[in-house]
């Protein structure tokens, strides 16, 4: 059996990309706006200019870091089951993260999300089997700015079983979020042994680590919490215009991150990930649905897999759309991304549910995207040729009469040979479709969203754990100027 694959780059080109990435780290080097990051590099032998905050990193240092970074790791459920394998060509999906708007189905327009929206999102994402991990997708507008990052994680930990992809917005939030994760795992050691969450860390293109991002990178390394690099050159704007050129910049940024990270915590897990994009030269927007965007994602993923024997874990923002509401463009962009990324073997694709250049979330889109994910996971299972003979036995059994529906061969194989979608995907005869209300995919998805949210069963965390989470949240909310946490709809 073959696992279908897609590769854009020859081995020779891969080597050229990696070579140029190493050279960039020496000339012009990378900017690091965080003293501790600069110090780690300087102490290890990099040439650091404290005035300009530029670090020129020698090749040997980078290669050593690539060597110590693990080729794979697992993320676990709340019960400690290793359900997400960041490694090889295993493909997983999580919802796109950090939406500051949510589509209100009733108005078909967007508004600021609140606590209830985040809770509905968790219920839905938990109930969609195609979605492998949760993400802190919803930025709640009913809490003060200073706590918008950790508050999302708080709601996810209270209500979700699945592994989590998250990130921070401020210098102070990592300790709060780590404290919460530790409360659920039992101890910092238990959390490190069975990671529940990864933290996205984004260098700023080109070749810059800001204080916030460098700090989280180091904090993750020291606590053994997996870090997910999210490098994002915008082709022709903040990175080279060519797909291959931005693949080089992406590699350089990731290699610089891996170096700092491994110096702080050798052997700590880290992901070769990103969210780059094409740059629309008419409007100045950054289309996630553009073909060049997706080709860049696949190309840099190939570099991550080729950087050493066994490769590194990979990630990309795919399964996104630039539309503002759910329509046909939404489907075509999302599906293209997920199909290409899956064929390229990206371990974690972040994107389902997300619209409008990574700023808006739609519960309906998440339900539709789950169907695309189902199809895509079927795709990468390939064509099963293990049965012997392939067809002779069943065809001779059925003979010229031709009724395969009666055959045991059919019953044995139909569930696995195709992906059977939910009612979100219409496969009815026309009259039946009409009798069911003549609904389009968005309306069918809305029904599904309501059904799944209603059917969700609350997570029963041990009482002391739930209380501790609430205590941590309450304490830090006070620090952010909020006396009482918003009322939860899930008790």
């Amino acid at each position: 059996m073959i696992r279908p694959r897609l590769e854009f780059l020859s081995r020779d080109t891969v080597d050229r990309v990696i070579e140029e990435a190493y050279e960039l780290l020496w000339n012009p080097g990378v900017r690091v706006h965080y003293d501790e990051g600069l110090k780690l590099l300087a102490d290890a032998g990099a040439t650091v200019d404290l005035e300009s905050r530029v670090a020129k990193i020698p090749r040997g240092l980078v290669e050593k870091a690539v060597d110590t970074a693990p080729s794979s790791f697992y993320l676990h459920t709340v019960e400690g089951d290793p359900v997400v394998h960041y490694g090889g060509d295993d493909v997983h999906v999580d919802p796109g993260s950090a939406a500051i708007e949510i589509v209100d189905y009733n108005t078909n327009r967007w508004r600021t999300p609140v606590t209830k929206d985040c809770e509905d999102f968790v219920r839905l994402a938990e109930m969609l089997p195609q979605i492998d991990a949760l993400a802190t997708s919803i930025v709640c507008g009913d809490v003060p700015q200073g706590m918008i990052d950790w508050y999302r994680l708080y709601l996810l930990l209270l209500n979700g079983r699945k592994p989590i992809v998250t990130g921070t917005f401020s210098m102070e939030s990592y300790p709060v979020m780590h404290e919460m994760l530790v409360a659920v795992s039992g101890s910092a050691q238990a959390l490190a042994a069975k990671p529940r969450a990864v933290f996205d860390v984004c260098p700023s293109p080109p070749l810059l680590w800001s204080d916030i991002t460098c700090k989280v990178l180091i904090d993750c390394a020291r606590t053994g919490v997996p870090a997910e690099l999210v490098s994002m050159p915008l082709m022709g704007a903040t990175g080279p215009q060519t797909v291959i050129g931005s693949t080089v910049q992406h590699a350089a940024e990731c290699l610089s991150g891996i170096t700092i990270h491994q110096l702080a915590g050798p052997g700590s897990p880290i992901v070769w990930g990103g969210s780059p994009a094409s740059f629309d030269m008419r409007t100045g927007t950054t289309p996630m649905g553009a073909m060049a965007t997706m080709m860049l994602d696949c190309s840099y993923a190939q570099i991550g897999k080729s950087i050493k024997p066994g490769g590194l874990p990979t990630h990309a923002y795919l399964g996104m759309s630039d539309t503002k509401i759910v329509d046909a463009q939404t489907g075509l962009e999302t599906a293209s991304g997920l199909i290409l990324g899956a064929l390229a073997g990206v371990n974690m694709m972040s994107g389902p549910g997300m619209l409008d250049f990574e700023s808006c979330f739609s519960l309906e889109k998440l339900a539709i995207d789950a169907e695309i994910v189902g199809m895509v996971k079927r795709l990468v299972r390939g064509v099963d040729d293990t049965e012997e003979p392939l067809a002779l036995t069943v065809m001779r059994e059925v003979g010229h009469a031709g009724n395969f529906l009666k055959s045991k061969h059919t019953r044995r194989n139909f569930r696995k040979e195709d992906y059977i979608p939910s009612e979100v995907i219409d496969r009815d005869f026309r009259q039946t479709w009409f009798d069911k209300g003549a609904l389009d995919v968005n309306a069918r998805a809305h029904r599904k969203v309501q059904e799944l949210i209603a059917a969700w069963q609350p997570l029963s965390l041990p009482k002391d754990v739930a209380q501790e989470l609430e205590a941590i949240a309450t304490r830090h909310a006070k620090g952010a100027g909020l006396d009482k946490l918003p009322r939860r709809t899930i008790q």
């Binding site: 706006h33 500051i100 930025v139 700015q145 918008i148 917005f169 401020s170 700023s204 810059l208 800001s210 915008l234 022709g236 704007a237 903040t238 030269m281 008419r282 409007t283 100045g284 927007t285 700023s359």
Partner: protein, 215 residues
């Protein structure tokens, strides 16, 4: 004779060729062409063509930006001569532009700067992570008409409000208009903080700025 030179000046901007623009500007000076005429009849005329081509979708951002760069190269040759003669070219207004404190996002602001320049404004780009007080100081120093503030993060947007407050305290609010932009910025936010203008994209920034200058 001059007509041919003016044509070449315009063409250098249409082609986005900085070297040629500077060379033709110098050639014009050497030939005794009035620098103001060179700007209006030559280079600015070229910029108008670039703008028109962009509006119809035949030219794209890189064409617009390189046209602006060629214009700047020509001005670098011509403006010192103007100043020495006590003259200056007509601009639609002076804009102090920057990304607010704590924010390192550059590209949107750079686009706005390029388009305002191309649109006839004189732009002073203060860069990224700019202290609120610095916007005020530079607005005063350059006698700015507009302060344009970019913020890409919900956490740094607050500084846009801060700059407006500082401008009031400094007694400059009366004659300095403030426009705001960036991904999380909305009209509602602009209204809330008392900004004079908001636009969703760089082209919109030019429209709003022109309106504020009454042109």
């Amino acid at each position: 004779m001059s007509e041919e030179l003016f044509k070449r000046m315009a063409q250098s901007v249409i082609d986005g060729d900085t070297d040629v623009a500077a060379a033709v500007a110098q050639e014009a000076l050497n030939s005794g062409v009035d620098p103001l005429e060179a700007i209006y009849k030559g280079f600015s005329a070229g910029m108008d063509v670039v703008g028109a081509l962009y509006a119809t979708g035949e030219y794209f951002l890189p064409d617009l930006i390189l046209g602006g760069e060629a214009m700047k190269a020509a001005l670098a040759v011509l403006e010192p001569v103007l100043q020495a003669a006590g003259q200056h070219r007509k601009v639609l207004g002076k804009v102090v532009l920057g990304t607010v404190k704590g924010d390192i996002h550059e590209i949107g602001k750079a686009l706005v700067g390029s388009m305002l320049s191309a649109g006839g404004f004189e732009v002073y780009d203060l860069g990224i992570d700019v202290e609120s007080g610095e916007f005020v100081a530079k607005a005063r120093e350059y006698n700015a008409d507009i302060v344009a503030l970019s913020a890409l993060l919900t956490t740094t947007m607050q500084h846009q409000r801060e700059v407006i407050e500082h401008l009031s305290e400094a007694g400059l609010r009366g004659r300095v208009k403030v426009i705001v932009g960036g991904c999380p910025v909305t009209q509602a936010w602009a209204d809330q903080i008392g900004a004079d203008g908001f636009a969703e994209d760089a082209a919109g920034a030019v429209v709003v700025s022109k309106k504020l200058m009454g042109t």
